[in-house]
Symmetry: C2
Subunit: 346 residues, 2 copies
């Protein structure tokens, strides 16, 4: 059977704030079959992950691309790989059969031909909503879990600050921190988000950073006893303000720097004398280095979900054509929780 | 017996580059005796340590002083405590007797009355020159040892960059790095210093940073395979350049930021996206947190000295009146190796 496989591409490198017009929907014919012995698996995509880091792969050039994305760079016109959950349509790999539900690196397209060497994992389609395997039980979840437990090394009673706290990663970091007996304050970019943090996600406090003219003194108000752990998703001025309010032996998990993704001129200007005297550790990390924690992450997080101790916050758009606005919206703060695009249902 | 005890004070807070005229030599009478049961020890000072960090205690106010030096702040007119080696003149403490040679927190003065609670340690005055107990076997040595081994966690073959490499701490970091089988490049501020690094201290290479208009490309030349470990003594632009040239999983020991001590406007502006993708760790540390390593540090370093595998580089001025120029000289790069002032001999 042949189908028209719609996919999303970038028209050109994107260096500033992305907009819908930077993208295009294209379509190419795809035969839903695999060559004998090819080990390929054709997946019909159900939910696709929409992630800020993709923007770093779309730039003309950036220092990070030297190390990260010489290979990972997205060229105009090229398919854009992305994590997702899908259903096997046809399989040349004996580990998978038709109708298996799988998660792994798919792409911003309707069907993905998964080549051997790409990790694809079967999931139980019954216990949790399928989208959870892309959000709370997917890479965002592992990022929050590994970053919080392995990089921040929390102790009970410590004071934790999380930025983009209502986002995919941030909303989970805050919940793990509460489960660890920490005091947690988050910041986010709207009243709706702040209310969510305080009323639904159990944060001890939260504030709208866009209404704070002076971030340093805002954090002094929210943390009169100082910050022990800062889970940084934004970089630049917020990072400076958090470090200025940190306690001795404070730890900063450098998870993301979204405010710098769209504006490379924005930089933190840390007071290193302060960092030294306070013996602060700042550590950049990528979730993919922490796959050794995967089994523990899945079992504990599933358990928290089963017992109602955690909740997934998801923001789902429908149809492949909504990918550009879903993606551009990340940088406008449109999303509340994990941004996903649903293409079809099981 | 009563003596005139000369001491050095600051006349006012010092916020920029220190100069000799910021200091004054004063004198107060001191009776060389201790009250019955007081446990005090009167020490005649032999060598005093001259350290850049003292400047941070002399400032009007700095963010670091909130944590570090509310108590440690040096007020105008006040005696200025400093590490040193001296000889016991009179002791009310049964652990010490007259003529014992001791190291510990003394002050920029001729005699120091050491009160109970201040750690004073007896040293063997015969095996090594007395000055070594302030330099290579003193706090500078522990800083280099703890910072390099505990913070940088070197592996054989790794590429190490050290700034202020001919200085007290830097010259030792480079030597430890060579002893650990690393490739080591240092930077310093003059040809004499660069020659010392290459010809006497076994650095694989060295350069004069003052002759490099573009630090990033200089480091690219000296580290074509990238930097694994950066031992940072200067902060600001050099830190940026080093991080830009770091390899995946690079480690930065934030030991000092001397270029920022005299100019709080100077700041590193790290590319956090790069720091994240390269999974770099930056860690501020103070030697005094690593006293658990003290015994191992002393025994291994003494052993290296005995076998000629390490050498102490010292820069000694004579007489208490030379303290102000010795200190101000640190910030002009006058010193080659550990800066000490010798007051008298045994
Ligand atoms: N290290 C890793 O392995 C790893 C893995 C996944 C994600 N990440 C990083 O983690 C961060 C969060 O990712 P996520 O998937 O959870 O995204 P998200 O938080 O769900 O969505 C992005 C959010 O960032 C905020 N934002 C956008 N532009 C901003 C700006 N200029 N300044 C401050 N905030 C801004 C917006 O929320 P507000 O309305 O609150 O502004 C927006 O909703 C990103 O930096 C991402 O790259 C890292
Ligand atoms: N964390 C700790 O526990 C700890 C303990 C001790 C020392 N430290 C720090 O370690 C660093 C080195 O201390 P040290 O005792 O070994 O001093 P040092 O290196 O012996 O002396 C200071 C040297 O710094 C360099 N320098 C001065 N101003 C500079 C500037 N604006 N930019 C770049 N370099 C400059 C000069 O060398 P050049 O000619 O090469 O420029 C000068 O000789 C200092 O930052 C100090 O505060 C930290």
């Amino acid at each position: 059977m042949e189908v028209e496989n719609k996919h999303i591409i970038i028209k050109h490198a994107i260096d500033g704030l992305p907009t819908e017009s930077d993208f295009e929907l294209r379509s190419t014919p795809l035969v839903l079959s695999v060559a004998q012995g090819s080990k390929e698996v054709v997946v019909k995509n159900l939910f696709l992950s929409i992630d800020p880091y993709q923007l770093n792969r779309m730039k003309t050039c950036s220092s990070s691309q030297k190390t990260f994305a010489a290979a990972a760079r997205i060229q105009p016109g090229q398919r854009i790989d992305a994590f997702g959950v899908g259903k096997v349509v046809v399989s040349g790999n004996e580990e998978f059969e038709r109708d298996d539900v799988v998660v792994g690196l798919l792409a911003w397209e309707e069907y993905t031909v998964v080549r051997p060497g790409t990790t694809l994992t079967k999931v139980d389609p019954h216990e949790f909503p399928l989208s959870y395997h892309v959000s709370i039980l997917g890479p965002s979840g592992l990022t929050a879990y590994a970053g919080f437990y392995d990089i921040c090394k929390p102790k009970k009673g410590e004071k934790v600050f999380v930025s983009t706290a209502s986002g995919s990663v941030g909303s989970l970091v805050g919940q793990y921190a509460k489960l660890s007996g920490c005091y947690v304050v988050g910041c986010a970019g709207s009243k709706t988000k702040v209310d969510l943090l305080k009323e639904k996600l159990g944060f001890d406090d939260a504030f709208n950073y866009k209404e704070e003219p002076d971030l340093k003194s805002a954090l002094r108000r929210y943390f009169p006893e100082g910050i022990d752990i800062y889970f940084d998703n934004v970089g630049s001025a917020m990072l400076d303000a958090a470090v200025a309010n940190m306690n001795l032996f404070g730890r900063v998990a450098l998870c993301g720097a979204i405010s710098e993704y769209t504006d490379a001129g924005k930089r933190a200007a840390l007071d290193m004398v302060d960092v030294i005297y306070k013996r602060i550790t700042l550590r950049g990390f990528l979730a993919l280095d922490h796959l050794n924690l995967y089994a523990g992450f899945i079992s504990s997080t599933s358990d928290h979900l089963r017992h109602g101790r955690m909740r997934a916050v998801e923001d789902i758009s429908t149809g492949l054509e909504s990918v550009p606005s879903a993606f551009a919206g990340l940088f406008r703060g449109d999303n509340v929780g994990k941004k996903l695009v649903q293409l079809t249902s099981l």
